[in-house]
């Protein structure tokens, strides 16, 4: 990947790269045609009807002992939250969720950025590569998770491949070993969504005016220097959006875990979302599960809020 990225800089130095779109004109046209705010009302009304109102209604049940089926529910105050505080399974799940979210965010964006730098270059196959790298992102996570579950099986394709190429000692019980299972799941998420991050980074890269690259090259800046001092600051909005999307996605991680391991083996891959699901739909503890859901919501708001604050300060500093 690194070679591809470097070659892109070299090509930029030697000759004109892709003709970037004209960002300035686009911006002016956009600001001139800014839509009235009330255009958002129909969408907002639908969103409120489908998401906000039911969520707020459901949120209240966190303070009851509702079992999800009986017509009666009793108000129990903060009891559910007290139980949650002492719940070891929930605490373990918080740790697992943070670990997964953090590693997905870092690895997915690093790979996404390298891919973007690569396919931004003057390669003949760049359009095909862009499609290929982005393709997994359009498939439902449930489907990819099922496919990977087969690939990861002890006698599955991955272990067979490792054996064939003489790397038999690397064979693992990918989803059955509690020390490996979480990383196997994380790898699938990264594999699927690195292309998604790539597309956002690519859009950012293509909005950087060619003159700036040229000016930096004339001033004698090498590829690393150009990346750090020119590309990185100008990519700041893309970095912000990518980090936000991946951290929120990581904190909500459910589909891939549920399909591949159901939280197992022995709870090793249980995330907050799978624990919430189990409490509601397997243990009949709706009140408790909603309390956990509320905590997860707050958790996502706080983590992504802090992250957003930090990143936008960085953006301002750079601009």
């Amino acid at each position: 990947m690194a070679t591809v990225a470097t070659s892109s800089f070299q090509k930029h130095r030697d000759g004109p790269p892709d003709k970037p779109p004209a960002p300035h004109t686009g911006k002016r046209r956009l600001s001139r045609q800014r839509a009235p705010w009330w255009f958002v009302l129909p969408a907002l009304a639908f969103f409120a009807f489908v998401v906000l109102v039911p969520s707020a209604q459901g949120g209240w049940w966190a303070f009851t002992d509702w079992d999800g089926i009986s017509p009666v529910k009793h108000f129990v105050g903060l009891d559910q939250f007290r139980t949650l505080w002492h719940d070891q399974a929930a605490r373990d799940a918080v740790g697992t969720t943070l670990l997964a979210a953090l590693s997905i965010t870092i690895v997915q964006n690093a790979i996404g950025l390298l891919l973007a730098l690569g396919v931004n270059a003057h390669l003949k196959s760049r359009n095909i590569l862009r499609v290929l790298f982005f393709a997994p992102a359009v498939i439902t996570p449930v489907v990819t998770a099922y496919l990977w579950k087969y690939l990861y099986a002890p006698e599955g394709a991955i272990n067979a491949l490792l054996k064939t190429v003489g790397l038999g000692f690397l064979r693992q019980d990918w989803l059955g070993d509690p020390d490996v299972a979480l990383w196997s799941v994380v790898a699938v998420v990264v594999w699927q969504f690195a292309g998604y991050s790539m597309v956002i980074f690519l859009a950012g890269l293509q909005s950087i005016p060619q003159e700036i690259y040229e000016a930096a090259a004339v001033d004698g800046a090498g590829p690393v220097r150009r990346f750090w001092s020119v590309i990185r600051p100008m990519l700041a909005p893309a970095i912000t959006i990518n980090l936000m999307l991946s951290i929120i996605g990581g904190l909500k991680l459910f589909d891939q875990v549920w399909v591949m391991t159901q939280g197992g083996p022995g709870g090793a891959t249980d995330t907050l979302s799978t624990v919430i699901y189990k409490q509601a739909f397997q243990f009949n503890k709706y009140g408790y599960s909603i309390a956990m859901g509320l905590v997860l919501t707050l958790f996502v708001i706080v983590v992504s809020g802090l992250q957003y604050g930090y990143l936008s300060r960085q953006e301002k500093k750079n601009s």
């Binding site: 999800g68 089926i69 059955g176």
Partner: protein, 421 residues
């Protein structure tokens, strides 16, 4: 770009309209329509389709629409539908207690019609009453009787030069024979949560319940614990089988589907499974493959061996259903000699209610013999105090196999779960 925006918006609106229409047509069917709505587990598709076809033939004026869903989905959807008044007229209810769609859970909400007055209610055996009744009233029509045992391919067993084991030592010896032929005796797909419990249940039927059939009742009453019972030996034996190389390698990374394929392809002699898995093994192994089944012995006294077997598929009638008369007819048909026969034959299970015309799948001979001799014990989770015990059992077994928990810790976690309300 600009031109495509209205097009995209139109598509989105059309999509939304189609989506809403799809939902509405379904609801309309449940409300004013004259169609009887049934919801069943997707594993029961074949027998249920056959029963519905026969029912339609006998009652051409009643339309029936059946929705199938997997266990998890069915349980969560049904609960939502029941509490919002949109549930089907007849639906799968799991016997006893221990899962979110179980009889005792749903009955508490008042969603099940009392079926005590139906003629089939008096034919239910005493042994099955505990999981089909609440406070002496019958709320579900039991349809199939299902067992858990080692389902095996007879040709593979002959290939390794073995016979059905009668004692614990026989089992261990058979494991060695299988290994000598480059196979394993039992495929094990513990990655799929519910599979983890099956070997434990098979062993516990003998080690725990042959001695103390009331263990579950004592557990619920707080008079017994897993840790202080023969469940300890049971779990130890589960691990002993693993140490002796009886199971496939890496059971925690092996799924249910893979375990079935392993038997069909002859990599494993058999698999400890519910009898409803027989059609799937048969399908993968080919129609010529001759399958058999035996109870997994866990002591050296063959007379002690028991097999977990219980009412599995059962249906409830919606107390607030829109088609009470049609629903009643359908429930009666499910309980009829014809209905039970069709259901059991198509699903490779046994009928719950006495039936003379029924012809059993030859693979079920082992189970039928045990049933005749009164050597069956109910599925344990059907009588456990809450659904968390079973889920904790799944996790505990996976931890035992990954070495991250001891037998004592596993049993303690199950005891803790049993104490929860």
């Amino acid at each position: 770009m600009r031109a495509s925006r209205p097009a995209a918006a139109t598509l989105a609106v059309l999509g939304l309209a189609a989506f809403t229409a799809a939902c509405t047509s379904d609801t309309a069917g449940s409300g004013g329509g004259d169609t009887l709505r049934v919801a069943a587990n997707s594993t029961d598709r074949e027998p249920m389709d056959a029963v519905v076809a026969a029912f339609r033939k006998a009652n051409p004026d009643i339309k029936v629409s059946v929705t199938y869903a997997d266990t998890d989905q069915l349980q969560s959807t049904l609960r939502t539908q029941l509490s919002s008044g949109t549930a089907p007229d007849v639906f799968t209810v799991w016997p006893g207690n221990g899962n979110p769609g179980a009889l005792q859970v749903l009955q508490k909400g008042g969603y099940l019609a009392d079926l005590s007055g139906y003629s089939f209610a008096s034919k239910i055996s005493d042994g099955d009453k505990s999981v089909t009744q609440v406070d002496g009233k019958t709320y579900i029509v039991p349809v199939t009787f299902n067992g858990i045992g080692a389902i095996y391919n007879k040709a593979t067993l002959t290939e390794i030069g073995g016979t059905e084991p009668k004692t614990w030592d026989d089992v261990l010896a058979l494991c060695t024979k299988a290994k000598d032929h480059g196979k394993v005796l039992l495929a094990l797909g513990n990655q799929t949560n519910w599979v983890t419990q099956l070997v434990d249940y098979s062993l516990a039927a003998t080690t725990v319940y042959a001695q103390n059939p009331d263990f579950d009742a004592e557990l619920s009453a707080g008079k017994a614990t897993f840790a202080g019972s023969a469940w300890k030996q049971t779990m130890q034996k589960y691990l002993d089988l693993d140490k002796a190389g009886c199971f496939s390698k890496n059971p925690n990374g092996t799924s249910y589907e893979t375990s079935i394929s392993d038997v069909a392809q002859g990599k494993a002699v058999g698999v400890v499974q519910v009898t409803t898995s027989i059609p799937q093994v048969q399908k993968e192994a080919g129609a010529d493959a001759e399958l058999g089944m035996f109870a997994l012995p866990s002591t050296n006294n063959a007379d002690e061996t028991r097999i977990p077997a219980a009412v599995s598929a059962a249906y409830g009638l919606n107390a607030a259903g829109k088609h009470a008369a049609e629903g009643k007819k359908f429930v009666e048909f499910l309980a009829s000699s014809e209905g039970q026969k069709i259901y059991a034959e198509k699903g490779s299970t046994l009928p719950v209610l006495p039936n003379d015309s029924f012809k059993a799948d030859p693979a079920l001979t082992g189970l039928i013999d045990m049933q005749k001799n009164g050597k069956t014990v109910p599925f344990m989770d059907q009588r456990w105090p809450n659904p968390e015990v079973q889920a904790t059992h799944f996790t505990a077994v996976q931890k035992l196999f990954s070495g991250s928990e001891s037998v004592d810790e596993a049993l303690k976690s199950m005891d803790d779960a049993a104490k929860k309300s």
